[in-house]
């Protein structure tokens, strides 16, 4: 933990106003680290696989107990944490907590500080998993290639439908949701990860010519109709939502690669949590 704080390259932000901050969310800080797993979210399954492979330390973006710990939600983009008495008697919470204690697992959240770096590791990881490096428009100007604002990709001509299928196949996921006409032509894509809010979309679309935006998720009843309306008004061709996990998981692989540069005493492995969902289009094939 101390080594991450020293090497992250930006001043460490230790506190968020509300909700969990980066740092140890579960386990004893003095536990001796047997191995490190990076992942998007510490699901029960990820914890078991980590322990089975002899690693007791998880570095992740989300928290283990189904909330970001916030008490006062902002709009609908997050929800309040459950009341303490409700959580403490919840059988699923208890089973997971017991597993964490019994196996001396330590869970470290690393989100804001990782995202504050001048290189957007989440964007870089996602672009790499698509093998889109050579389409990235930022390679043609002098800024840090994966500066968080460099989200634009000039693609060989494709369509909304073909692009959605390509992303689905490359990430091996199913629950991709698309707004827009499948046949609409696409050549410029704005690639983002995580939750896309309407003001962020407005900002990114100020650059003319963007056909499609890709994101993890949106506040469905804000971003969804915003893009429906953009499509109806013929201002944009579509929106592709990969799912939170799918859009952030590749960046957790980047994190594992980065950690190996600063920690070499223990094994480090990226274990993707996998998307939580299946869909009927998958089941009917």
């Amino acid at each position: 933990m101390n080594r991450i704080q020293k090497s992250v390259g930006v001043p460490w932000q230790s506190q968020r106003g509300d909700g969990y901050s980066d740092g140890i969310l579960a386990g004893d800080p003095d536990t001796s680290v047997t191995g490190i797993v990076t992942t998007f979210t510490p699901t029960f399954d990820v914890l078991r696989r980590a322990v089975d492979s002899g690693k007791n330390t998880i570095i992740c973006r989300e928290a283990p107990f189904y909330s970001r710990g916030e008490r006062a939600p902002v709009g609908w983009r997050n929800g309040p944490a459950p009341a303490k008495d409700l959580l403490e008697k919840d059988a699923i919470h208890l089973a997971k907590k017991e597993f964490i204690e019994h196996n001396k697992v330590v869970i470290i959240r690393l989100t804001e500080n990782w995202d504050a770096r001048t290189t957007d590791g989440q964007l870089q990881g996602l672009a790499r998993s698509f093998d889109w490096g050579h389409y990235h428009t930022a390679t043609r100007n002098g800024t840090d290639e994966y500066d968080p604002r460099n989200v634009y990709f000039d693609m060989p001509n494709t369509t909304v439908g073909r692009l959605a299928e390509e992303l689905k196949d490359k990430l091996k996921i199913h629950a991709i949701r698309v707004v827009g006409d499948r046949a609409a032509a696409v050549s410029k894509v704005a690639l983002t990860h995580g939750l896309l809010l309407v003001p962020d979309a407005e900002q990114i679309l100020r650059q003319p010519g963007v056909d499609v935006m890709v994101a993890g998720d949106t506040v469905e009843w804000e971003g969804g109709p915003y893009f429906q309306d953009l499509v109806t008004a013929r201002m944009v061709k579509g929106l592709i939502l990969l799912g939170q996990e799918a859009s952030e998981e590749a960046g957790c692989g980047e994190l594992a690669t980065w950690l190996k540069l600063i920690v070499n005493e223990v094994p480090i492995e990226w274990i993707p949590a996998g998307e939580p969902f299946w869909t009927l289009s998958e089941a009917s094939r």
């Binding site: 929800g79 959605a164 969804g224 109709p225």
Partner: protein, 296 residues
């Protein structure tokens, strides 16, 4: 349903007969289409919704002149641009929308001044002399919740439902089916395309509950049901909770509906309900539709 339909169905007529003290005087003022304003329609909604009108509320006129005579009424889940175009084409310039028009819960437009889409949408509404009213809080406050009356009806679950004390503590005991079969039924009955599912497709389901907006409701409900339905949850809450429940050995499942799939049927019912006390203008439910599709 045809445009211009003002016929009162037999079922609605029965309701009217049973409550003639409330509705009788309204019907006697019946006039030709085009002779009622949006404001008068809303005044009657306030009178008939069965709960006191509270403020602050999101149930307000969002755009347009409430005092101009209207040509027809569209009820819908979401007043998207496409929906507004279809409503105008159907001859209805008054849209009653459950959800916002300008892409945020409070329809805050001050931040949208530089957004070309905002101006495009406003231009369309003004050119077509349309009026939009949001009908959300008080339709949910109706007892039973107007949205769930419509949803239960769409699912054919009116006889399987048990209402609890809280808004989302609604439980269903349904004839046994599998998760996969129930998801397929739900997809066609609610006309949705982007349902996402957690759990074993062959899991047997009889007890179903709604997870509402937040994880607290999911935690309160999941122990009592086989299947949790959510339409407004964040991915790191309900889906991860149910995924871990299954990993912990519980036989549970989750269906995450598009928000529209959880509420649109309630606006279909809203059109029927409006017809029991407004007959001066045609009233029509037009679906705004699931925004998403999922590649096969």
């Amino acid at each position: 349903m045809t445009v211009g339909e003002t016929t009162i169905s037999r079922r609605c007529f029965c309701q009217l007969a049973a409550s003639s003290v409330v509705f009788g005087p309204t019907l006697m003022r019946a006039q030709a289409p085009g002779r009622i304003s949006a404001r008068e329609v809303v005044t009657r909604i306030k009178r008939n919704v069965g709960v006191p009108w509270h403020t602050p509320t999101s149930d307000e006129f969002k755009i347009g002149d409430p005092d101009a005579p209207i040509t027809g009424i569209t009820t819908t889940f979401m007043s998207t641009l496409d929906l507004l175009q279809r409503s105008a084409a159907a001859g209805n310039n008054f849209v009653i929308s459950h959800e916002p028009t300008f892409w945020s819960a409070a329809d805050v437009v001050s931040a949208l001044r530089d957004d070309p889409l905002y101006h495009h949408k406003v231009d369309f509404i003004e050119k077509n002399k349309m009026v939009v009213f949001r009908f959300h809080d008080h339709w949910h406050a109706h007892r039973p919740d107007g949205i769930f009356i419509g949803w239960n009806r769409a699912m054919g679950w009116e006889r399987c439902v048990r209402y609890g004390p809280d808004p989302f503590s609604i439980a269903y005991e349904i004839p046994e089916t599998s998760l996969r079969q129930l998801a397929l039924d739900m997809q066609s009955k609610l006309n949705v395309h982007s349902m996402r599912i957690v759990g074993d497709p062959n899991l047997r389901i009889t007890r179903v509950g709604h997870g509402g907006h937040y994880i607290a409701q999911c935690m309160a409900t999941l122990p009592k049901v086989d299947l949790l339905i959510v339409g407004e949850s964040r991915e790191w809450e309900a889906a991860e909770y149910v995924r871990d429940a299954i990993a912990a050995g519980q036989k549970k499942a989750l269906i995450q509906l598009p928000h529209e799939g959880g509420e649109e049927a309630g606006m279909r019912y809203c059109a029927e309900w409006l017809k029991t006390f407004v007959n001066e203008a045609p009233i029509q439910f037009i679906p705004s539709g699931d925004p998403f599709w999922i590649p096969a």
